[in-house]
């Protein structure tokens, strides 16, 4: 447990220090959400209807933006290799890094969501629901992002290719996440979507550490 916590706190410190991207990602999230009405128009009802989708898309894009730093720095300066000498298996190191990444990038977005909700004219209960679905769904997004980041870690100029790989894989999260807030007239569809979202997140939490660790091992060979 001690090495796990050590990796966790180290990554959180690095992300929140000067030069860390936490604040940048947060600003990107708010700006992406706030720029949508300029394209859609200021019609309040329309914005309220599209609000959950806008918030989810903004969150998805912001998380993609932050992915590159998940493993790349540590792979290039050799810290990842050093960490593998510890008593902790690489899979658990990946879990620690994912947790730290979620706390330092996804959690600030979720906390700042009410700001976007006000701008997009969302009702209070809908805002709460969006926040709840983001809490449930963002771990899945980060997991797939971690796989993409691990796969592209040894590519020198591969910053752009990871999103191409990750976006198709994050479609289920997007579908269930948005449907859990605003779905059609079908009864119980929202609850079903929320359950699917939770299931998907759990599934991705199970296989991501193994897949990402495997890719990192292959990259270090």
């Amino acid at each position: 447990m001690k090495p796990f916590l050590a990796v966790l706190t180290r990554d959180m410190k690095l992300a929140t220090r000067i030069g860390g991207d936490s604040l940048t990602v947060l600003l990107f999230y708010i700006m992406t959400g706030a720029i949508m009405p300029f394209a859609i128009g200021p019609d309040k009802d329309q914005l309220a209807q599209l609000g959950p989708a806008i918030i989810w898309i903004s969150a998805l894009l912001s998380l993609l933006l932050a992915l590159d730093r998940l493993f790349r720095m540590d792979h290039e300066d050799g810290s990842l290799l050093a960490m593998r000498q510890a008593s902790l298996p690489l899979e658990m190191i990946v879990v620690a890094k994912i947790c730290a990444h979620w706390v330092t990038t996804a959690l600030p977005l979720i906390v700042a969501t009410p700001v976007l909700a006000i701008l997009l004219n969302l009702e209070i209960d809908q805002t709460l629901r969006v926040i709840f679905t983001l809490l449930v769904g963002t771990p899945a997004l980060i997991c797939f992002g971690a796989i993409g980041a691990a796969v592209t870690v040894s590519i020198k100029r591969g910053g752009l290719i990871a999103p191409i790989l990750i976006l198709p894989l994050s479609i289920p999260t997007l579908i269930f996440g948005v449907s859990a807030v605003s779905s059609g007239a079908i009864a119980n569809a929202q609850d079903a979507a929320l359950l699917f979202l939770a299931g998907f997140t759990l599934l991705s939490l199970v296989f991501t550490p193994f897949a990402a660790a495997l890719a990192l091992k292959m990259a270090a060979e």
Binding site: V151, T152, I161, I164, P172
Partner: protein, 261 residues
């Protein structure tokens, strides 16, 4: 100069499966399959096209557009079959680290992408007269589109790696992650689709098909499968040759460097 590196095993000392999968031996035996495959694919394709255009009736519901199905369904099948091959090859790359598995996966990706694109194009051209629009966010077509994105992502990944041996293993990981995800994506898209529109859209797969439609479908299905096999074989041979040429060039470059003081 002494050879410090151990020699690769010659085909003779290996078991049957290792022997047919040995890259050098594969080059030997696959050579004899190329022209027969060309023949089989050409004959089946000609017969299938004859059946499709001259010897099959129009469907009572879809009318003449049912003929598009004879290209659409085999391409859609190949788009999934090709991914299954890539996933199987990915297991071969990761578990046995077999070089031929890498070669097979790399050769399959562009073929899969092309057949997926054909499935999409023919689907759109079928949809235009039937649904009145080229694109409908129908569950099947949407998941085929996502499949195309996954193929293109994998092809892009192959192109960014310098070291193809390492690339094979890393791409195997993302291929397997994709394989786990494809059914989930398909399910989620279907679910999303029923959520947003009533399921009254006329689908490509009618429940009942008369034999006169099934026969050309069957023939075209095999024609496309053999065509795929042929192209896959040639692409695999290409990839093996490319790796050999690269290895020789690298050795030559090393030799030049050691000769110069």
């Amino acid at each position: 100069m002494t050879e410090s590196k151990s020699q690769e095993p010659t085909p003779q000392d290996l078991g049957f499966f290792s022997r047919i999968a040995h890259p050098g031996y594969f080059l030997e035996w696959s050579r004899y399959f190329i022209w027969p495959l060309v023949g089989i694919a050409a004959i089946l394709m000609a017969y299938g096209l004859y059946l499709a255009f001259f010897n099959s009736p129009a469907d009572y519901q879809q009318g003449e557009t049912v003929r598009i199905m004879y290209v659409h369904v085999p391409s859609a099948w190949l788009s999934q079959f090709c991914y299954a091959i890539m996933a199987a090859a990915a297991i071969g790359s990761l578990v046995w680290r077999h070089p031929l598995a890498d070669v097979s996966a790399k050769a399959a990706a562009p073929l899969g992408a092309t057949f997926t694109a054909i499935a999409l194009i023919t689907g759109a051209l079928w949809g235009a007269p039937t649904w009145g629009t080229f694109w409908e966010w129908d569950g099947r077509m949407t998941s085929t589109l996502i499949m195309l994105f996954i193929y293109l992502g994998i092809i892009a990944l192959w192109r960014t790696f310098e070291d193809q041996v390492r690339a094979g293993r890393i791409i195997a990981v993302i291929t397997l992650v994709g394989a786990i995800n494809v059914p989930i994506i398909k399910f989620s898209v279907d679910w999303w689709n029923t959520l947003h529109q009533p399921a009254s859209v006329f689908r490509l797969d009618g429940p009942t098909m008369p034999p006169s439609i099934l026969l050309p479908l069957f023939v075209m299905f095999f024609a496309f499968s053999f065509l795929f096999l042929l192209l896959h074989f040639i692409s695999m041979r290409t990839e093996i040759l490319r790796r050999r040429a690269r290895a020789i060039e690298r050795q030559y470059a090393q030799q030049l460097r050691t000769q110069k003081p």
